[in-house]
């Protein structure tokens, strides 16, 4: 009955099948096979990535929970912890942008509140094909309104994120969603089923035939069901999730339950077996008690359904009525569907018959790991010799072009659709280098950012990943927050292609090196492989979410210029690095060359220097240099200043003018300070081994950069601002 074609439909190899038979001591039935197929899938089992992910540093004094749970947990003092995680929802968002993105938000929120934390912020990292194509626009509109539709309704602010555009995402947009939660340290809950005799409760939405893997089963048992159109994309119900959130937090706050797990990928299968395995227990489940939305569902369908807004809980028998009362208050049912038992087996019955009887350890912990063949990543297209690259006649026009490129342009069109202020904690609204959230009742604040430049990673995965980590941490340091932990989402192509595995291996190596140097633990993440459609692979795209802590929110620094007459200091050194830059891409149409080099030790010194100077109150503004280099960073600081102050900057050195203005050399930041403080700042920099130079002054109505007293470019702030501001909305204007 289980032959090669059944295995193929379940994405299992014959070797894997033999291993299953050996582990469970019998031939699995179809339902049991279904369980293994989802639990041993790439998504749940991390088959191809596990051997590499081991390289990441996961320990540190603040780590309460590292990888392995629904989300990472870090101690932030005063009895509080932060809980955070990032997830991808790439494929669903391509098929149904609104619902795909919406349910992505729903899923990551559950990962956070299932641990007992109240979600306090969402960030989203989005990548689309260029917006001049209506198809890409419509995906983007759907994704953005889906994120808005879910997050706004449930009342968690979406406080930041990133949006990149590149043709490689045309058929494979990326939607990565990050969520941060806050909890009391002694109120953290784990996904553990403990205590034989404890009851297993099901709460939330009813189970339907949503998103079942292997739905095209050709076996007799499923044949009569094949006329059902089984959607792979679920519809989100943020209202139900809001009720679920409040009810779950209430039972956890009152310590009415023993353990809890959300039903995400692989639904009931994953939640039951994982909870049992983590508790070292077994579990009995009566599938007839599972609330069902559709008639005639089979055990296979019930177990593999990915219906949204569902949770599994374990409670002592005495507490069951109290738990059910809380859920009833929120208009939710919480039926008992099973029991925790000794013995380590998952046993499920359906209409009185045992339909599943397997050891949970085999399902959860013994998925094989593959060290897949690795080939060197595809080499970058060679950059033209600089001598062959014409210098633009008008560097001011070049700046406008770069500012208007959708990747750099203002993203307000996106984030004003997100409620970014609900919960009244958002101190830096979207637009700053990092989102800044106060912690009510304390002077402390949390800073959060998502970062990842996939063009760099395409050109050199290891350097690209190091830069992603460096830039993310730098984005926190410029605000005055010390990075305390990382989560990451690794979006790659097909891992069976050796060069994709090569990219993956290199990127993980680079990320590990950077995190180790910066001393920040990786507390979790997500791997999304198979991001290729019609032979087109995406750029390897690691996205890092970093959380930072500020002891005194009063000291936080924002990117906008503060006052005319302030001195402008450039921290870091500029090299002739044009490879992989936004300038090369938008002005010369080239995605080529090597990305900028990065010295991780220098980066670390630079960030320490920033934290020190911000702590002593010497900086009035700080903004890191990323895409678009120095000229763009100065322009953005002008745009973010309340009165749109310009600047007069005079540089020196021998670099080509475009490399000087638009090069993306790393570990650079523009800061401003009172005139009287500049000398001290420069002295401290040299003591700390950080290059720094006074380059000009805030003031005037122009963004002016020159060398040796001669203008290289001079553009009115207002004009540059309009280009930057209007670029994205212009794509979406419907002719009346």
């Amino acid at each position: 009955m289980i032959d090669k074609s059944v295995l193929d439909q379940h994405n299992l190899t014959e070797d894997e099948y033999r291993l299953i038979v050996e582990l469970i001591g019998k031939e699995p039935n179809l339902t049991e096979l279904g369980i293994f197929s989802v639990m041993w899938s790439e998504h749940c089992g991390y088959k191809s990535s596990r051997v590499h992910l081991k390289k990441l540093p996961t320990e540190g004094p603040r780590v309460v929970q590292g990888p392995g749970e629904n989300a990472g947990v870090l101690d932030i003092g005063d009895g509080q912890v932060v809980v955070f995680k990032i997830e991808s929802h790439n494929h669903p968002s391509f098929i149904e942008p609104y619902q795909g993105a919406a349910t992505g938000v729903g899923g990551i929120l559950r990962d956070i509140f299932t641990m007992g934390a109240r979600p306090i912020a969402v960030l989203d990292s989005l990548r689309f094909g260029p917006p001049d194509d209506p198809k890409n626009r419509s995906i983007m509109e759907g994704v953005v309104s889906g994120i808005a539709g879910y997050g706004n309704s449930i009342g968690v602010p979406t406080v930041g994120g990133e949006v990149y555009f590149d043709p490689c995402y045309e058929l494979n947009p990326l939607v990565n969603v990050f969520c941060l939660g806050l909890a009391d340290r002694d109120k953290i809950f784990l996904a553990k089923a403990e205590g034989a005799g404890n009851k297993v409760l099901y709460v939330g939405a009813k189970t339907g035939r949503d998103g079942i893997h292997g739905a095209t089963m050709a076996s007799a048992e499923f044949g009569k069901e094949t006329e059902h159109k089984r959607p792979n994309v679920q519809v989100g119900d943020p209202f139900k999730e809001k009720l679920l959130l409040e009810a779950c937090l209430e039972v956890m706050d009152r310590s009415l339950i023993v353990g809890i797990q959300d039903m995400g990928a692989a639904g009931l299968t994953c939640s039951t077996t994982e909870m049992a395995a983590k508790g070292g227990m077994g579990i009995d489940v009566d599938l007839d008690k599972v609330p069902q939305r559709e008639a005639g569902m089979t055990p296979y369908e019930i177990l593999l359904s990915e219906s949204q807004e569902r949770m599994l809980m374990v409670a002592t028998p005495e507490n069951v009525p109290a738990v059910q009362e809380v859920f009833a208050k929120w208009d939710l049912d919480a039926p008992v569907i099973g029991e925790v038992v000794a013995g380590g087996r998952a046993r499920m019955t359906f209409r009185g018959e045992v339909v599943v009887d397997i050891p949970v350890d085999a399902v959860v912990n013994l998925c094989p790991a593959y060290d897949r063949p690795i080939a060197p990543p595809p080499p970058p297209p060679p950059a033209p010799a600089l001598a062959d690259l014409p210098l633009p006649d008008d560097l001011g026009e070049a700046l406008l072009k770069v500012l208007g490129s959708p990747t750099i342009a203002d993203k307000q069109w996106v984030f004003r659709q997100y409620d970014h202020m609900v919960q009244v904690n958002t101190v830096f609204l979207p637009g700053a280098d990092a989102a800044l959230l106060r912690i009510k009742g304390s002077k402390k604040a949390l800073a959060v950012t998502l970062d990842g430049n996939s063009l760099y990673t395409r050109l050199d995965p290891r350097t690209g990943a190091r830069i992603a980590a460096a830039e993310a941490c730098r984005n926190l340091a410029v605000v005055g927050a010390r990075p305390i932990g990382v989560t990451n989402c690794l979006n790659f192509g097909n891992p069976e292609k050796p060069e994709v595995m090569g990219q993956f291996e290199q990127a993980v190596t680079g990320m590990a090196e950077a995190c180790r140097t910066f001393g920040i633990p990786v507390t979790g993440g997500n791997v999304s492989f198979y991001n290729d459609t019609e032979g087109l692979s995406i750029h390897p795209t690691p996205v890092l979410g970093v959380v930072g802590l500020l002891d005194d929110i009063g000291k936080a620094v924002s990117p906008g210029f503060k006052a005319a007459g302030d001195d402008v200091i450039l921290i870091g050194e500029s090299f002739e690095e044009l490879g992989g830059t936004e300038y090369l891409k938008t002005v010369h149409g080239l995605e080529a060359g090597a990305p900028p080099a990065i010295d991780l030790e220098l980066e670390k010194r630079t960030q320490e220097y920033l934290l020190e100077t911000i702590d002593t109150g010497l900086l009035r503004s700080a903004h890191d240099l990323s895409e678009g280099g120095l000229a763009v960073a100065l322009a953005e600081s002008a745009f973010h200043s309340d009165r749109k102050l310009g600047c007069e900057v005079d540089l020196d050195g021998e670099l080509r003018a475009d490399a000087l203005l638009f090069g993306e050399s790393q570990s650079r930041v523009v800061v401003t300070c009172r005139k009287a403080d500049a000398a001290g700042l420069l002295r401290l920099a040299s003591r700390r081994g950080v290059p720094a130079k006074l380059i000009g002054r805030v003031g005037g109505r122009d963004i002016a950069l020159g060398r040796g007293g001669r203008d290289l470019l001079r553009v009115p702030v207002e004009r540059a601002f309009r280009v930057w501001k209007d670029s994205l909305p212009a794509f979406f204007k419907v002719p009346a």
Partner: protein, 82 residues
């Protein structure tokens, strides 16, 4: 020529809106209500188009623009009296 197109979730797809309305109606005492499905309706004026053109155009528009066939179905008809 005026047509009416109804777009709704496929029966197997969760319809949170319909469910919420149903629950509200129950709370209000309308127990006769056994189920509610909520969808969208579009009335399109195709003045000038022939019946034949409409029969070609409308399903195409519905499929391409008004509904996502992965989760939604549609039906349509000519509006009476025209």
């Amino acid at each position: 020529m005026r047509v009416r197109i109804l777009v709704s979730f496929k029966d197997s797809v969760l319809d949170p809106q319909g469910q919420t309305v149903k629950n509200a109606l129950h709370t209000m005492g309308y127990d006769a209500v056994k189920d509610v499905r909520q969808g969208k309706v579009f009335e399109i004026d195709l003045a000038g188009a022939t019946k034949k053109e409409a029969e070609r155009l409308v399903p195409e528009i519905a499929r391409r623009v008004l509904a996502n066939p992965i989760i939604e179905k549609f039906e349509w008809d000519f509006l009476k009296g025209e």
